[in-house]
Subunit: 413 residues, 2 copies
Amino acid sequence: MVAEIIAVGTELLLGQTVDTNSAYLGKTLAALGIDLFRRATVGDNEARLVHAILEAADRADLILTSGGLGPTQDDLTKAAVARAFDEELVLDPAAVEHLRTFFERRGVPMPENNLRQAMVFRTGRSLPNPMGTAPGALLEKNGRLVICLPGPPRELIPMVDNTLVPLLIERLGGERQVLRSRVLRTIGIGESAMEERVQDLLASANPTIGTLAHLGESHLRLTAKAPTEAEALALIEPLEREIRTRLGAHVYGIDDTTLEQAVVELLRARGRTVAVAESCTGGLLGGRITNVAGSSDVFLGGVISYSNRAKEELLGVPGDLLARHGAVSAPVAEAMARGARERFHADLGVGITGVAGPGGGTPEKPVGRVHIGLATARGVESRQYDLPGTRADVRGRSVVLALDQIRRALLDA
Amino acid sequence: MVAEIIAVGTELLLGQTVDTNSAYLGKTLAALGIDLFRRATVGDNEARLVHAILEAADRADLILTSGGLGPTQDDLTKAAVARAFDEELVLDPAAVEHLRTFFERRGVPMPENNLRQAMVFRTGRSLPNPMGTAPGALLEKNGRLVICLPGPPRELIPMVDNTLVPLLIERLGGERQVLRSRVLRTIGIGESAMEERVQDLLASANPTIGTLAHLGESHLRLTAKAPTEAEALALIEPLEREIRTRLGAHVYGIDDTTLEQAVVELLRARGRTVAVAESCTGGLLGGRITNVAGSSDVFLGGVISYSNRAKEELLGVPGDLLARHGAVSAPVAEAMARGARERFHADLGVGITGVAGPGGGTPEKPVGRVHIGLATARGVESRQYDLPGTRADVRGRSVVLALDQIRRALLDA
């Protein structure tokens, strides 16, 4: 099976949006062993879109489109596919129903132009879109399979995972080779240091090993190819065990596990609770921990102490400590951690204070200087970091480091 | 002048790299007023690459390629262009010299395969690459201009800015047209409802009007084409004014302004401060406000009151209110808002409480139910929402709605 991808949208050609969908679709096709030799990007212009579809149909069995399924006049993808394949568009009653329910739940009347989204190929069918109003559409004609996906990644990704992949797996049937990956996620070790520890294993051909760095984390991906999933996993297992031995506590989780999930699970396993006091991160640490469903079992809350007065009044940081050391200092990070622990009656308290930038740096306390305190029943300690990058980088990395400090304290306990 | 872009690299098709170069090139062409109707992505395969180049040459005057200029065997772009245009590749002495100097400065011997990079079209020329070893290449033949750019963005971007843009401006000479965009960012109105209000204006050809929805926001993009930037802006101005009149307070900003920037600027302009009390959003609202550099002027802090005890002790929410109405209720949202305002001595206090899901919903209080309270000197009020989507969606939308409540309160004040 040979595929082509057509990304639709003038905003893509103008460079106002970076096309991440095509990369996601490319990864998905690769994992299924489907060849992809060509991608195209076209604007919201029906004639040019028809032309691109006809070209793709000349070369490929499977055509995936993303974008152009919305309610407005410049959403033309289904009309173009219909024209290219000499097909009709008809109203799909189930999609109309989904739309009406969607608007009713919001308590707003449905603008009539939304019905465009409920159009479906006469000999095809809709693909459910639980995340939005525009369903996907499937057409199989002249030996070609065309699948139209929505443009917003938050709608496209679930539709790919839940609908497209099962559908393609069924089509592939016997010719299918399974590609199975296991990602080992590490924190606290750089990508090249991690690679050095596993250097001699990198030549492995099946599984292959790849490394990936992402915002303070380093990931290792093992990918095995075999006739069945069980056989692929059996190829991965001994290599994974060896790598885990070498990387030790740096490995915090596998596959899609996030660092905050690992921390919440560890807190739950140890029966501990945590509270936070955030200055430069302004709530991002709390926000990240509470990404995890069920985090209320272990996360009691926090204080965003952006002002000094809030540090004193809500966390009990002594005024003379602030005056003597300044808000960005180890003693204040420690007092904030202690304050969070006490005020929220938590087992662990975390305090973060730093200079996120771009302004506010001094020679003694440059932009990127961050102190993270951790208070437990055994006492309080803090670490000092000098973090590179933009304001967003400094804040993001501070959150990751704080989560890792919690995690390592729990592992040691 | 009509352009096409061809991005070269198997890693792009496999989705291992997201193609940001094409977006950068698209922005650049738009700014010069050069039409771009099509982009293609092809892997490191000479035959398919030649085919894509011939197709593009059929439709466009200007062909930009990115990638495939490196020293290894799978760097094939120049060879493919040469084949498509029946051209020869020859060694460029200046490029050889640049390569030797590059390696000497690093004190390492130059691997011989690097000489591939010094090949240039016999009737064309090299384009300097101060950031790397692979120079760009230019070929003008059969009425087509082909420019080959390197793949790494840190090499491509300076070559675009310093070499490509001046070269194209010179070519365009008198016929140069500037494309200038203005994005109007709205909140509190759906994409289709917004479109209905401006329906009769959509047929406008210059400026063109496009709509775009993004996580609870709807954007309108006006794009004008004119000989100069001033003339393009003059075309946009009356249409922008008309649309602003029709959309009123839904428009919160233009171009790259984020909602949190608009809120921080408005707070500063009105000389007001704000504090937050967050339950289901767990710190995300504070985190988002403090994305803005300098937000400490107007943002005093917040309490993440994930537990009921924290709501009582840190925000002064009465225990009997919690017992009578439950934590997710209008009275509690209002008491949280009041608590935040008082504890932080702020002009405005915001309180958010809700059921983010996926668990925790009941028939009376389903997943997605959110109350947002706002306390000011004039009193306190709250709104109830039923938000669709995942836990992340409910939390993200709650933050957007809270920011918009602050914004509208300041506009009314």
